[in-house]
């Protein structure tokens, strides 16, 4: 239910901001105006929404519309001209397994996104190795007792093909292993929010999500190879499951789009709101 609340809060917030923009409440003199459309990754969506809120306060004449569906939607929307910024969890200007590169697009690093393996609170296991995860996601391990838990069937929940979370998770947590389970305990969901709801409501389930979404006590993050999924462990290099989040633009960004990306990359935002959302500043990674 939490994500629903979050969603409605975000909707109300953006509606409020929009009306504030329309009436032009802020008095600051400002030449920047226009509309920025952001589309793509749901993992980056909380960051984009927060940045949009702050940016619009500074530049009331700029309207930002953000929506999330799946990472590959981002660069695709930019390619089609539907969006100015395509949020993507991988560098879409390069080839990655499963996806061709998008010609002529520039990848602007905006954040470091840690991902974590999550399980339903009914699961007793709190550490999984790469090999165990590989076994679970490829369908070789189907019972929690094989990885040190209760004698219960494992319910695997995964994101659909095209999700950036899935691309990164597969590459880093599963060591490139396949997700090819088509049996009775396998379910696909369409977004990070759906993933959270599904894992929270399904006993004995396992899934993966970015760290930002983990809150409350109905899901818990498990350790990976004995390392806890925390911001500190990512920065120190102990925890490997993370990736840069990118804002893809058609060529170098210009005008208000450039200003917005620069705001997101600015020290003020990176060290402030971005950290609070459990993302990691890009400058923290060496």
């Amino acid at each position: 239910m939490k994500w629903l609340k979050k969603l409605s809060l975000a909707a109300i917030a953006s509606a409020f901001l929009l009306s504030a923009t329309l009436t032009g409440s802020a008095g600051a003199k400002d030449e920047l105006k226009g509309k920025i459309t952001v589309n793509g990754s749901t993992a980056l969506l909380p960051l984009t929404l927060q940045a949009a809120k702050e940016f619009q306060k500074l530049h009331p004449k700029v309207k930002i519309a953000a929506s999330g569906k799946g990472s590959v939607t981002g660069p695709q929307a930019v390619k089609k001209g539907i969006a100015d910024i395509g949020a993507c969890d991988w560098d879409a200007s390069e080839d990655v397994p499963g996806f061709k590169k998008f010609e002529g697009q520039v990848a602007n690093k905006v954040a470091v996104i840690p991902f974590a393996t999550i399980v339903n609170k009914s699961v007793k296991v709190d550490n999984l190795t790469t090999e165990q995860l590989k076994g679970i996601y490829s369908g070789k391990i189907t019972n929690w007792k094989d990885v040190g838990g209760d004698d219960k069937d494992i319910v695997v929940i995964t994101r659909s093909f095209g999700s950036g979370t899935r691309v990164n998770y597969q590459a880093k947590a599963l060591g490139g292993g396949d997700i090819v389970k088509k049996e009775k305990n396998y379910k696909e969901v369409g977004s990070s929010g759906d993933m959270k709801t599904a894992v929270a409501t399904t006993p004995n389930s396992i899934g993966y999500i970015d760290l930002t979404y983990i809150s409350g006590d109905d899901i818990k993050a498990v350790k990976h190879n004995g390392v806890e999924a925390t911001v500190e462990n990512v920065i120190s290099g102990k925890y490997k499951i993370w990736s840069y989040g990118y804002y893809m633009t058609k060529g170098q960004p210009t005008g208000e789009t450039k200003a917005f990306i620069e705001y997101v990359q600015s020290k003020k935002f990176q060290e402030g709101s971005l950290k609070k959302l459990k993302f990691i500043p890009i400058s923290a990674m060496k």
Partner: protein
């Protein structure tokens, strides 16, 4: 107003004061213009509707046909292997699943909603009628995502408990959610059809000594047959095209549903899960369009079949 009435009015007008006559002719002229306008307005509306429909079919069909540049007809319709990321586009499993889901939904929903319709129209006292009918109208207005969410958070845990399965997603969960969604549609429209059966039929039946059961099933229901068939058609088209609620409880795994509790996928849920994640100019995208086109055709054919059955049974 027919021609002779116009004529009579004109003749009468000739006798009257010029001012009155002017008034009358202007009145009939105005009537003629208004009639003309209305006729063409309605004609235009129908044509606009046909145009939109034709365009939908044409554009989806056009994109859909591009699939066959790389995929053979036989593979698409008869292969059960849907692995688009590796270039295998077998949509047969979605077609079979969609049909099974629709049939399963109708098997659950039709008896229930007909029972409700008969209760409201024939048996219930006035106060109950006044209570149930608006309630059903209210149910029709609830957005499907709400049903989906309730299915996800209320129905699925219940099904897990009952079946002992780990997940509970599957055809049964989807069919139950759809049943709740189409129940009000079918029962409200059937109820109207049953209520429209003339009272004298029932009186005649009772006069012959029939019981209420006999009267209802042998006289009233056959007489209301066409309306009931129309109600089922409407319910079925909603069930076959419904996406948001289904996608939340069906599991979205591209495999043939071998049991009621196996996570599976139907045409609608697969389209909505994948369409935004694929390249615009790819066979994957085209084949999703082909699936949409197919959905259009399936519902069209089903409607035709039921219309034909309805014509035979209901007359």
């Amino acid at each position: 107003m027919n021609i002779s009435a116009h004529k009579a009015a004109r003749e009468a007008g000739a006798e009257l004061h010029p001012r009155h006559r002017w008034n009358l002719t202007s009145r009939s002229a105005r009537a003629r213009v208004v009639n003309w306008l209305f006729k063409y307005y309605f004609l235009f509306s129908i044509l606009a509707l046909c145009l939109v429909l034709a365009m939908v079919i044409f554009f989806i069909g056009k994109t859909a046909m591009l699939t066959f540049q790389e995929v053979t007809l036989a593979e698409f319709f008869f292969s059960f292997d849907w692995t688009p990321e590796e270039g295998r586009f077998g949509a047969a499993l979605f077609i079979v699943n969609t049909l099974s889901l629709t049939v399963l939904t109708l098997i659950i929903a039709v008896p229930l909603s007909l029972g409700m319709a008969i209760l409201i129209a024939e048996i219930a006292p006035a106060w109950l009628k006044k209570f149930v009918s608006p309630l059903l109208d209210l149910l029709v207005g609830i957005p499907s995502i709400v049903y989906g969410y309730l299915g996800l958070t209320v129905l699925l845990p219940l099904l897990r408990e009952l079946s002992g399965e780990g997940l509970g997603d599957g055809l049964l969960a989807a069919a139950l959610v759809l049943t709740v969604m189409i129940l009000p549609t079918i029962s409200r429209i059937s109820e109207d059809a049953i209520s429209a059966v003339p009272r004298k039929y029932r009186d005649a039946s009772y006069a012959l000594g029939a019981t209420r059961l006999q009267t209802t099933f042998k006289v009233v229901l056959p007489a209301a047959g066409r309306g009931i068939v129309a109600a089922i058609i409407l319910g079925m088209t909603r069930a076959i095209g419904e996406t948001m609620a289904v996608v939340m409880v069906i599991g979205n795994t591209p495999q043939l549903a071998k049991s009621l509790f196996a996570p599976t996928s139907v045409l609608t849920s697969n389209i909505v899960m994948q369409i935004s994640n694929v390249d615009f100019d790819s066979t994957w995208n085209y084949s999703l369009h082909l699936m949409a086109f197919l959905l259009l055709l399936i519902s069209f054919v089903l409607i035709l079949i039921i219309r034909i059955i309805g014509r035979k049974g209901g007359a």
